[in-house]
């Protein structure tokens, strides 16, 4: 062992080390934003923000940078996924909390946690080989906005179900007993007491889930067809912002590459705004 240092010196050194680590960890966010901005700057400074919004098509090599179709696809797909997942997720949480017997509820909860743990690439694989052929039978080509939404819904459903259940659990037990004492039916308690009380947390869970949905890449990329267009029906193949980055980043150079970083920056800001909204509505975050 080296010569013993005085406790004070050791404490100071440790504090330094810890502070340095924390500064690194905190600085990472800044570093990421700076690098995104730095890589995006060449095209932002020459082309400007407006063409990303105003241009009608995405042909970065020919100088049109319209992100609108992909942004629309991202938003439409996430919204649709929320529309599917939110009622189902809340219903599942209600089932586990108010309807199922102990072991059944545990089994369902276990299934939800397991579902949350399934990697998006595996969901994409399953979606492409199982779901897409089914949709294809309805209307070709199968890879579509609808397929993307359903797979996304499967991905975010656990988040919604788990946050809702956490919120329902924290609704005070005394409400429950009080309401039961009034002779309210189970459904009346759910509608009049449980859901209204848990409303804010459920909303936060949904916002958080939509942030995840917007940021999701692989599952969406694999099942939604990746055609850059404004979707006009559920069965149209579309390309989301995230899928676009994943598809083109491999070979993009120069302005093209820079414009991908612009879309990454836009995506980050969008997702962070949603996360901030979720934080504001005061829900507890369940890491699933």
């Amino acid at each position: 062992m080296v010569k013993t240092l005085s406790p004070n010196v050791r404490d100071r050194r440790l504090l330094w080390t810890l502070s340095l680590s924390a500064a690194t960890a905190a600085g990472l966010l800044l570093l990421i934003l700076i690098f995104l901005a730095k890589e995006a700057w060449p095209v932002l400074s020459t082309v400007g923000v407006t063409s990303f919004v105003m241009d009608s098509s995405w042909h970065p090599l020919e100088g049109t940078f319209g992100l609108t179709p992909m942004l629309a696809a991202s938003v439409a797909m996430s919204a649709l996924a929320i529309l599917i997942a939110a009622p189902l997720g809340v219903a599942l949480a209600l089932f586990c909390r108010f309807y199922a017997m102990g072991p059944v509820a545990r089994l369902f909860r276990w299934a939800v946690v397991l579902l949350a743990g399934i990697p998006s690439v595996v969901l994409g694989l399953w979606g492409l080989t199982t779901l897409v052929p089914l949709i294809n039978d309805l209307r070709a080509p199968g890879t579509s906005l609808l397929a993307g939404s359903v797979v996304l819904a499967l991905m975010i459903l656990p988040t919604i179900a788990l946050t809702t259940e956490a919120a329902l659990t924290s609704v005070s037990q005394s409400y429950w007993t009080g309401a039961s004492a009034l002779g309210l039916s189970r459904e009346a308690i759910i509608l009049a007491v449980a859901l209204p009380t848990a409303r804010n947390s459920i909303a936060a869970g949904v916002l958080l889930a939509s942030a995840r949905a917007l940021g999701e890449t692989m599952a969406v990329l694999m099942v939604s067809g990746n055609v850059v267009q404004l979707p006009s029906s559920l069965f149209d193949p579309v390309r989301t912002l995230t899928a676009n980055i994943a598809l083109e980043m491999a070979y993009a150079t120069g302005t093209h590459r820079a414009s991908l970083f612009v879309s990454g920056l836009a995506l980050t800001l969008l997702v962070l705004a949603l996360a901030a909204a979720a934080r504001r509505s005061g829900g507890q975050v369940v890491h699933a």
Binding site: A25, L29, L92, F95, L184, R186, T242, H287
Partner: protein, 297 residues
């Protein structure tokens, strides 16, 4: 419960016809939705098990992929995955533990600064993984000159899992009862020794549980890896080689290789099995951490 007022006469709610239909509707919806979800889940799981099990055997795990992965196994893929994880953990764990120790042990002294660190971590946790991929590509591959390599991929994942490692480690350290901190201080034991020799060992199960969660997160990740660690499916010779993670392998077989689905399902089964093992271990350790409190007499 102010909303209960909205339902006057609700003491007899179950028996009135309007409420009967409403209750029945809600009840059926809840049941149907739950059965639907569980059905789809079982379908999904069954598909993966069924189609994966026909591919996975010992040979699959130890042989190299042939004809772009259509046949052969995933041995180099597993090695690359493990190497990427090792790099990610080797960076994220020490950094995360040190940051967590600062947040939990010195939080009072920092005030605004510590809150700032916490906020930036929460924001970082919300950044989409594809954006980590962009950053990793720009920073590690290009700016640091590491190219498409296991090192780049691992470092990118380290950034991605850092928030979850920090947050779990922080709550683990905060769960350590104050009486040990006071007891150590009363013996004139320095803060550094207290943290290193008493608090960290006491919080070890929680710390490892957080680490496991991070590993699970990293292993499931694809988007952050496709343009940082790359696609090369050869056996890597060092961390400076490009290596294909198992999730990237699944993606590539599904999307770019016609007839790659069977092996994609085989790989998916391996991946999910590993994830379940890791998550169960994390859960078990986290529960053990809860049990570890000073005994009361």
């Amino acid at each position: 419960m102010p909303d209960a007022v909205l339902y006057p006469g609700s003491a007899r709610a179950g028996s009135t016809p309007t409420f009967f239909w409403r209750n029945l509707a809600l009840q059926s919806f809840v049941w149907l939705a739950s059965l639907l979800i569980i059905g789809v889940f079982l379908w999904l799981l069954g598909d993966i098990l069924w189609r994966g099990a026909s591919r996975v055997d010992w040979e699959f795990l130890i042989s190299v992929p042939k004809s772009a992965g259509r046949s052969g196994g995933i041995a180099p893929i597993i090695v690359s995955t493990v190497l990427i994880l090792v790099v990610a953990i080797a960076v994220a764990f020490p950094l995360g533990l040190a940051t967590a120790a600062l947040l939990s042990e010195y939080a009072r002294q920092g005030g605004a600064k510590v809150r700032g660190v916490g906020l930036s971590l929460d924001v970082l946790a919300g950044v989409p993984s594809i954006v980590f991929g962009l950053f990793g590509n720009a920073f590690f591959c290009v700016w640091m000159g590491l190219g498409f390599s296991i090192l780049s991929g691992g470092l990118t994942l380290a950034c991605m899992i850092l928030p979850i490692v920090i947050r779990t480690a922080e709550s683990g350290l905060r769960m350590v009862p104050d009486e040990w901190r006071l007891g150590a201080a009363a013996l004139g034991v320095s803060r550094s020794t207290t943290i290193v020799r008493i608090l960290i060992p006491a919080a070890a199960p929680a710390l490892v549980a957080g680490l496991m969660l991070g590993i699970g997160r990293a292993m499931a990740e694809t988007a952050a890896l496709i343009f940082t660690s790359g696609y090369v499916d050869r056996m890597p010779r060092s961390v400076f080689d490009s290596g294909r993670a198992i999730s990237v392998h699944i993606y590539d077989l599904t999307m770019n290789v016609a007839g790659g689905d069977p092996n994609a399902y085989g790989s998916a089964l391996v991946l999910i099995a590993l994830l379940i093992v890791i998550n169960s271990a994390a859960l078990w350790l986290a529960n053990r951490a809860l049990d570890r409190k000073p005994s009361r007499s």
